[in-house]
Symmetry: C2
Subunit: 350 residues, 2 copies
C-alpha cells in the first residue's frame, strides 16, 4: 500500500478520534507517526497505531488526558501527561521548552506519566524550526545489556540533537547497535544478524536473531555507549519521576498498568551565547569544510546527521509512503471493527 502523507495522517486521526482521542491528541499523534514513516523510521510510524489502539481500549493510554504542569521555574517545567498519547504530550512539552529558551536562553522540560512518543527527532526539529538547539531523550522498556552484563537493563533511550543550521543537523539515534525491529525482521526472514547486535540469554555473542531477542541488545560503541545509555536512563527516568531499568514498562506493548517511561528535553537559544549570524556562519563553514573533505575509498558523499532522513522525507512526500502489507491489513481490520470507511478517507485526503 502506498499512502500520501496527508492520507496517512487522516487515517490515524480518524481512527484515534473513534476511540475518544481529542482533535489535538489525534492530530499530534498522526503528525509524528506519519513523519516517522516519511523519514524511513518505519518502526515508529503507522506500525505503532494498532499498539496504541489496543492500549486506548484497555485504558492504559488515556484518551482526552489531562496534561498538567506540576512544577516549574522560569526556565523549566515538569509535565504530568495524565497517561495520554505520548506524541501529544511531548509536543506540548517541547512547546513549553521552546518558550522557556526564548526567554531564558535555555529551557528544560521533564515528562512523566506519558507514553511512547514516536521519533525523538521530531521534537528536536520543533526547536530547530524556532532557531533553537533541541536536545531530546526518552526511556523505553529495558532491551540493552550493561557492559559486562547479560540481562536487558537499559532502554534503547533515543537521543536527538537538532541544530538550526544549513544544512540542518538532526541527530536521532538509539543507544543499541541495532533496533529491536531489525532482529524481528531478520528472524521472520530466516536471516542471521551481525555479531555485536545482541547476546543470547547466557551473555554469549550471537548471530541468531531469535536468541538475540531472548537475550539482550548490545549498546552501540561498547562501554562508552553503555555509559551514555545509563546516563540518559537517569535523565529521562528518575530525574523526571519516571522509572528506570526493569521498571520501565509499556513502550513496546500495552501492559497491565500505565507506562512508566519518561522524557527529558533541553532547548538552547544561540542568541544567549553570542551573535546568531556568527553562529550560523561558523556552523555553515564547518559543515561545508566537512562535506568537501576527502572521502574514503568507495564513499561518494559525506552526510551530516539527519541528511539521509531529510532526503527520504522529500522522496516520500513526492512518491508516497510505502506501507507494509501486514501493517495495512491490521489497519483495515481495525477500521472495519470501528465502522470506519478507509476508502472514503483516502479519497478525501489525497
Amino acid at each position: 500500500m502506498i499512502l500520501t502523507f496527508e492520507q496517512e495522517k487522516a487515517v490515524i486521526r480518524t481512527l484515534l478520534r473513534k476511540l475518544g482521542a481529542s482533535e489535538e491528541e489525534a492530530s499530534a499523534t498522526a503528525e509524528v507517526l506519519a513523519e516517522g514513516d516519511l523519514r524511513g523510521f518505519g518502526s515508529h510510524g503507522l506500525l505503532r497505531l494498532p499498539y496504541i489502539m489496543r492500549a486506548l481500549k484497555r485504558g492504559t493510554i488515556v484518551a482526552n488526558a489531562k496534561v498538567r504542569v506540576i512544577k516549574e521555574t522560569p526556565a523549566t517545567a515538569l509535565l504530568d501527561g495524565g497517561h495520554g498519547l505520548g506524541h501529544h504530550i511531548a509536543t506540548r512539552a517541547m512547546r513549553l521548552a521552546i518558550e522557556r529558551a526564548k526567554k531564558q536562553g535555555i529551557g528544560a522540560v521533564g515528562v512523566r506519566n506519558s507514553n511512547h512518543f514516536g521519533i525523538a527527532g521530531y521534537y528536536a526539529e520543533m526547536a530547530m524550526r524556532k532557531g533553537l538547539i533541541g536536545i531530546v531523550t526518552t526511556t523505553t522498556d529495558a532491551l540493552v545489556h550493561p557492559w559486562g552484563g547479560v540481562e536487558p537493563l537499559l532502554g534503547t533511550n533515543a537521543l536527538a540533537i537538532g541544530i538550526p543550521s544549513k544544512p540542518p543537523v538532526l541527530l536521532d539515534m538509539a543507544m543499541s547497535v541495532a533496533a529491536r525491529g531489525k532482529l524481528v525482521k531478520a528472524m521472520k526472514e530466516g536471516k542471521s544478524i551481525p555479531e555485536g547486535w545482541a547476546i543470547d540469554s547466557e551473555g554469549r555473542p550471537t548471530t541468531d536473531p531469535k536468541k538475540g531477542l531472548e537475550g539482550a541488545l548490545g549498546p552501540f560503541g561498547g562501554v562508552k555507549g553503555y555509559g551514555l545509555a545509563l546516563a540518559l536512563e537517569i535523565l529521562a527516568g528518575p530525574l523526571v519521576g519516571a522509572a528506570a531499568g526493569k521498571e520501565v514498562k509499556g513502550t513496546l506493548e500495552p501492559v497491565e498498568g500505565f507506562s512508566t517511561k519518561g522524557d527529558f528535553m533541553i532547548t538552547v537559544d544561540p542568541a544567549a551565547f553570542g551573535s546568531v549570524s556568527e553562529f550560523e556562519a561558523r556552523v555553515q563553514k564547518f559543515l561545508t569544510q566537512l562535506k568537501e573533505s576527502r572521502k574514503a575509498p568507495g564513499v561518494v558523499e559525506l552526510l551530516v546527521p539527519g541528511e539521509p532522513e531529510f532526503r527520504a522525507r522529500e522522496k516520500r512526500l513526492r512518491e508516497g509512503i510505502p506501507i507494509a502489507d501486514e501493517v495495512w491489513a491490521e489497519i483495515e481490520r481495525i477500521a472495519k471493527e470501528l465502522g470506519v470507511n478507509l476508502a472514503d478517507i483516502l479519497a478525501r485526503s489525497r
Copy 2:
C-alpha cells in the same frame, strides 16, 4: 617518581606562579591536573604542564587573565576567558552554572577564548557535589574523521555527565575509540594498534600507530559516535563563538595565535523536576538492580561510569601517583630553569 596528591599540586602551583599565574589560576590548574593523574587520566595530568609552561612563555596562554561574563540571562552566561588557563576558567564557568541551576532549575554556561581544561569530568563532578547533574563538553584540535571521510575534522570532544547518586555516576569519555596518547604510546613501544582505532592518510583501516597518527582517529560507535561528535563540536564550538573543525587550534601544542577551542556546560537541579529523595531512591534502586544483575562469562563485577576512576583515585591517594620518568625529567628541567627547588617543595608538601 611517586608523588602524593599534595606534592603534585604544590609542584604545579609553584611553577605556574613563577610564570605569572595568579594564585587562583595556579591552584585551579594544579587541582584539575592532579585530579586527572589521580584518576588514571595521565594524558590530562602533569604530562600537560610543560605544554602549558611553553604556552605561558609564548603568551598564547595569558597569565593573570581577565575572565569576563560578556552575555547573560538568569539561567545562562557566556564567559570570555581572556586566553587564560583553561582549568581556572572552566572552574569559574561551572561555578556560575551551578549558581544558575540552583535558582532556575537549569543553567548553561558557554566559554570562549580559553584553553585546554584537563578532564571534563572534574567540572561535572563539581555540579554533582552540589547535588546537581552536570553535563560538560569541550572541543579539541581536529583528530577524528567524519563517517566515510579521511581527514581529521572533528575533535575528540569530551563529554562528561555527572549524576549525584549512590554510587556516583560520572561518565567522562572522548568521541574517539581510543585516545591519541594511546597511539603515541604504541608507536614508542613498537606495538600495533587494534583495527578501528584509526585510519591512515588514505582512509584505509590501519594497525600501524604511526600511520594512524598521520591519518585520523576513528569515532567510537561508528556513524552514531560520528553524529554525536559533530553535534558536540557545534555546541562547544560555534554556539559559544568558538571555532569548529580544522579551525580549532591550540589544545595539543602551543600555536602561533591563541587557542580557538570552546566549552559548553549544562547544570540541572533534580529539585526542579520532582522530589530529590524520590530521585535518589529511584537511581539507587536502578544502580543496585544493575550491579546485582547476571554477569557475562568471565566478568566479575558490573561497574557504573566513573567507578573505575574513583577506585583509582582512592588507591593513588593512599599509595601516591606514579609519574613517568620522562615527564618528571621534563619537570625537573623546567624547575631548574626557573630556579625552583623541587626537593624543597616535595619535602614541605608531603
